[in-house]
């Protein structure tokens, strides 16, 4: 449901539980039908009152619907004005405008219905030529990415495929880990790899040498894979049934966390040659992962890395995250990683 107006169809991507919770928290139990207007200065007032003004103008907002909506208005201006609202519900807002306006609020909601409160001016001037219009959208900025990711998820479900998105800083050992994983698991099932790097096809070439099909995506100036890139890669790869797909994201502990690729799980790869405080320094990434692989544990005798502190830090950021210490070189701990993949398979 659109939390803005309460309408049942929402063109934009549905907002998360956080949005709904917030809308609920702000709303009194008795004012569900009351539009909320937020202001940058944090004040709001409720009115069905009128003010004496040097000039008056009134707006009629003809809202014949019971809904909530929120506005934020931030206009610089030289005068205040009052509105008298003819409403079947009251709402609160204050507008400060420096323009002599006929103000046209167009609230565009998910189902495409528009509310066009017609301005009415007591001074008899039309002013419509100077009107500006507001579209209240509440559109998720990543809506397009998320729509494509949802489509990919459906496609993968049809193939009964499992897709895992591997993310790490550059040099944590993602590609080496994948080479080893493919060699160890290859007999058991078909595997495909989507490789993301800013430039070169080095990683896809390395993966192909293991005998599986891989496609390289070069993101150019981009710092992460997005859902459209992965959808396009899948279109090229044409995965068969029951395939295991590894998506090796661009080495970066910031941006990839934000983009849903349609994968089943995000796996964060960290290594003991990085600091054990990495989860605290890059909390968004560690928060996004369903699993953390702590790679290069064969180097532990040579580096001042505290595994227990790393696990504590990872769980501070992501309380239920599983952390598996592994070495792609010696094979230590990899059985747990393969078991985790099989568990995901069973769930999928």
């Amino acid at each position: 449901m659109c939390v803005t107006c309460g309408c049942s169809v929402d063109r934009s991507t549905p907002e998360g539980p956080a949005d709904r919770a917030r809308a609920g928290a702000r709303r009194g139990s008795d004012d569900r039908s009351r539009p909320m207007h937020d202001h940058d200065d944090g004040h709001g007032h409720s009115h069905g009152h009128s003010h004496d003004h040097s000039h008056d103008h009134s707006h009629d907002h003809d809202h014949d619907h019971g809904h909530d909506h929120s506005h934020s208005h931030d206009h610089d201006h030289g005068h205040d004005h009052s509105h008298s609202h003819d409403h079947d519900h009251d709402h609160s807002h204050s507008h400060d405008h420096d323009h002599d306006h006929s103000h046209h609020h167009e609230h565009r909601h998910g189902d495409g219905h528009d509310h066009l409160p017609e301005p009415r001016r007591s001074d008899g001037q039309g002013g419509r030529a100077r009107a500006s219009r507001e579209h209240v959208l509440q559109t998720a900025i990543l809506a397009k990415n998320d729509r494509i990711a949802a489509r990919t998820r459906g496609f993968l479900a049809d193939c009964n495929a499992l897709a895992l998105n591997l993310m790490s800083s550059p040099g944590a050992g993602k590609t080496t880990l994948l080479e080893r994983t493919i060699r160890d698991m290859q007999g058991a099932r078909a595997i495909l790899v989507i490789e993301g790097d800013q430039a070169t096809a080095c990683d896809a070439d390395r993966i192909r040498k293991t005998g599986v099909d891989a496609i390289q995506i070069n993101t150019g100036t981009g710092c992460h894979l997005d859902a459209a890139m992965v959808e396009s890669a899948l279109h090229t790869l044409q995965p068969g049934q029951d395939v295991l797909i590894f998506i090796e994201n661009v080495g970066n502990l910031v941006c990839p966390a934000l983009f849903d690729l349609g994968e089943h799980a995000k796996v964060v790869v960290a290594s003991v040659t990085e600091g054990d405080d990495k989860p605290l320094k890059y909390p968004y990434m560690f928060r996004a992962g369903s699993l953390v692989l702590l790679n290069k544990v064969d180097l532990l005798p040579h580096v001042p890395f505290d595994v227990a502190r790393f696990v504590d830090n990872a769980r501070l950021v992501n309380p239920h995250v599983e952390v598996l210490p592994v070495s792609a070189i010696t094979g230590a701990g990899l059985d747990s990683w393969y078991a985790w993949i099989r568990t995901r398979d069973a769930r999928g």
């Binding site: 917030r22 030529a129 500006s132 579209h135 959208l137 559109t139 990543l142 100036t221 941006c255 983009f259």
Partner: protein, 115 residues
């Protein structure tokens, strides 16, 4: 141009605004950015002029409302405003229900009227 996720996000903001504006020119765009999104408002501003150039959003004002990260402790129910996507409650627990902070949306597009 520096690689950053804010670049792609700004391109989306411009596309959403241009679509909402139709044939009109965009005067003002209001976006809400939660503190949990790892999106930097300054980086959006940095990208906006470049991304909007040649579009109906060129010259528009980009207003960014930063939404604080508000968390409710799952153990004791107390609420905390945090600067980062994790924390330790006064009761010692670290699991939270995140009430706000994950917003990333275009809330308002204001367009110029006909001349």
């Amino acid at each position: 141009m520096p690689p950053m996720h804010e670049l792609g996000i700004t391109q989306e903001i411009v596309a959403i605004a241009a679509e909402a504006a139709g044939d009109a020119r965009v005067k003002r765009i209001v976006v809400e950015v939660g503190r949990l999104t790892a999106v930097l408002p300054d980086a959006l501003r940095f990208c906006f002029d470049i991304c909007s150039e040649g579009t109906s959003a060129a010259g528009a004002t980009l207003e960014i409302i930063e939404v604080a990260a508000l968390a409710r402790c799952l153990a004791c129910g107390s609420e905390h405003e945090l600067d980062q996507p994790f924390g330790v409650c006064s009761c010692g627990r670290t699991e939270f229900d995140w009430i706000t902070g994950e917003e990333l949306k275009v809330s308002i597009v204001e367009v110029h009227g006909c001349a």
